[in-house]
Symmetry: C2
Subunit: 271 residues, 2 copies
C-alpha cells in the first residue's frame, strides 16, 4: 500500500520559495483551483498611474489587489495569509530604465520603503475550465510554457504608462473557438474570453507570426492542421508597458511562468 502525498497548498509553495527550496520549472499545474498572480513592484509615486492603467485596460491588466501599505511586503489576508511578496514567488525580473538587468530568486535587496507590489490575474485560472470542457490547452498537452506575443494593439495610456498589449496563444480548430470563448468568458479578472482569433485577429493585433513559431515570451506551441491561433490578454503586458515606458527607476516583476500562488480561489476571479 502506498500513501498518496498531500497536494501542496499555496502556503507550502510560498514557504518553499521563501526558504530557497522551490525548483520547479514553472508554477503551472501546482495548487489546482488557486489563483496565481503576475507581480509588478513600483515606487509608490507611480501607484495611482498604475491603478489607472489597470482600470483603463482591464483585459490585459486585471488588478487583483496590492500590498497593504508602501514598504510593507504583506498582502490583505483574503489574498494570501503569511505572505512576503519579496521572497514567496519562485523568481523575479529586475528592470532599470526600461531594461531587464537581472533575474533573481528574491527581491529583498531591491525592496524599498516606498515599494508597492501589485497583483495581476493570470490565464492559468481558466485553463482548468478549458481542460474540463474538452479543450486542453496544447502547451499543457506537450508540457511547454504558453507562447506569448507582443502586439501592436495600444493600451489606453495612463499617466507615465503607455505601451502595447501582450497576448497568450492557444491553437484550436475553428469549430472549437466558440466553446473556448464560452468557457473562459466568466473569468473576468483572469483575462476572460479571447481578445481575437484566426488570421483576421492576428492581423488586427499586428502579429506577424500567426503560426506562432517565434513567441516573444514562453515557448512555441504546436499548431496542428486546420487549427487557428486564439489570443487572450496576458498578464505579462504590464512588464512590457514598463519596458516601453522607460521609467528611470528600478521596477520589479515576477519571472514569466514563475507566479505568486495566492490563497484566493479561481472562482473568486469570475463575474
Amino acid at each position: 500500500m502506498t500513501i498518496a502525498p498531500r497536494p501542496l497548498t499555496p502556503l507550502d509553495v510560498r514557504l518553499a520559495c521563501r526558504s530557497g527550496q522551490w525548483n520547479a520549472a514553472s508554477t503551472a499545474g501546482h495548487c489546482a483551483g488557486f489563483v496565481q498572480a503576475n507581480l509588478v513592484v513600483l515606487p509608490s509615486k507611480y501607484a495611482d498611474d498604475f491603478r489607472a492603467l489597470c482600470a483603463r485596460n482591464p483585459v490585459p491588466c486585471p488588478l487583483l489587489g496590492e500590498t497593504v501599505a508602501p514598504g510593507n511586503p504583506t498582502l490583505p489576508p483574503h489574498l494570501a495569509e503569511d505572505c512576503d511578496v519579496r521572497t514567496d514567488a519562485p523568481a523575479y525580473n529586475v528592470y532599470v530604465g526600461g531594461n531587464l538587468v537581472a533575474t533573481k530568486k528574491d527581491i529583498v535587496d531591491e525592496w524599498r520603503d516606498d515599494s508597492v507590489c501589485f497583483l495581476i490575474g493570470c490565464s492559468f485560472s481558466f485553463e482548468a475550465a478549458l481542460t474540463a470542457g474538452g479543450l486542453t490547452p496544447r502547451q499543457i498537452e506537450i508540457s511547454k510554457n504558453v507562447p506569448m506575443y507582443k502586439t501592436r494593439a495600444p493600451l489606453a495610456a495612463a499617466g507615465v504608462f503607455s505601451g502595447r498589449m501582450v497576448v497568450s496563444m492557444r491553437p484550436y480548430l475553428p469549430s472549437q473557438v466558440e466553446l473556448a470563448r464560452d468557457l473562459t468568458r466568466p473569468f473576468v479578472r483572469a483575462h476572460g474570453e479571447p481578445v481575437a482569433w484566426g488570421a483576421k485577429g492576428a492581423a488586427e493585433l499586428g502579429i506577424d507570426d500567426p503560426l506562432g513559431e517565434s513567441p516573444d515570451f514562453g515557448e512555441a506551441s504546436e499548431v496542428r492542421e486546420g487549427e487557428v491561433p486564439v489570443y487572450w490578454g496576458c498578464g505579462v503586458t504590464p512588464q512590457n508597458v514598463i519596458m516601453e515606458s522607460k521609467l528611470p527607476d528600478c521596477v520589479l516583476g515576477h519571472a514569466p511562468g514563475h507566479m505568486l500562488v495566492l490563497d484566493l480561489r479561481d472562482e473568486e476571479v469570475c463575474a
Copy 2:
C-alpha cells in the same frame, strides 16, 4: 432692465425633444454641469454581451447605466426622472444588418417589448474642465462639432461584439498635452485622459489622417501651427462596433452630437 432667461434644465431639454420642439444643431453647450449620454438600444438577448463589451473596454465604452427592464423605456431616477429614452433625445440612428438605414426624431415605432437602452458616457463632461483650465477645445472656439476618427485599434471582443475604437480629437501644442491629460484624467466614466497623441499616437492608432481633415464623424477641426492631435476614447465606438459586428437585428443609437441629457452631474462620472 432685462431679465435673463432661466437656463434650460435637463428635463426642459428632454420635454422639448419629446414634444418635437427641440431644434438646436447639437446638445453641446446646453445644461452645463449635467452629463449627456450616448445611447445604444439592443434586443435583450444581446444585453449580457454588451455589458461585457463595456466592462472589457471601459475607456471608449464607459457604461453609465441602462433602462429599468426590457421593454420599459424609463431610467433609474438617479440618472433621469421623467425620462422616456424613445423620445427624449433630439435624434436617433436606426441600424439593420449593420447598416445605417434611417435617422429619426423618435424611436417609438422601433422600440420592442425586449428592447434595452444603454447609456454611455460622453466627452462633453470634461470639456468644461478643459476650458476652465485654459485649454478651450478648438471645436467649441470655432463653433463646430468635434471631429471623430475610426482607428485600427481593436477592442477586446465580447460575445457577438467585436470592432475598432473611435476617438475624438482636439488639437493642442505639445507643451499643453500634459495639462490636457491632467484635466481630463478624473473623468473616468467619460473616457478620462487621452488614449494617445502626436504623430506617434496617430500611427499607433492607425489614423492615416493626422491633420484631421477628413473625420469619419463630426466636422474637421482647425489644427494650428505647432499643434499636435490629441485623441480621446469616444462614445460613438459602440455604434461603430454594432456596424462592424453586423447583427441581423434592428439596433438603435442616438445621432452623434444629439445626446440624451441626464440629471446626473459631471462630477458624478469622476473617480
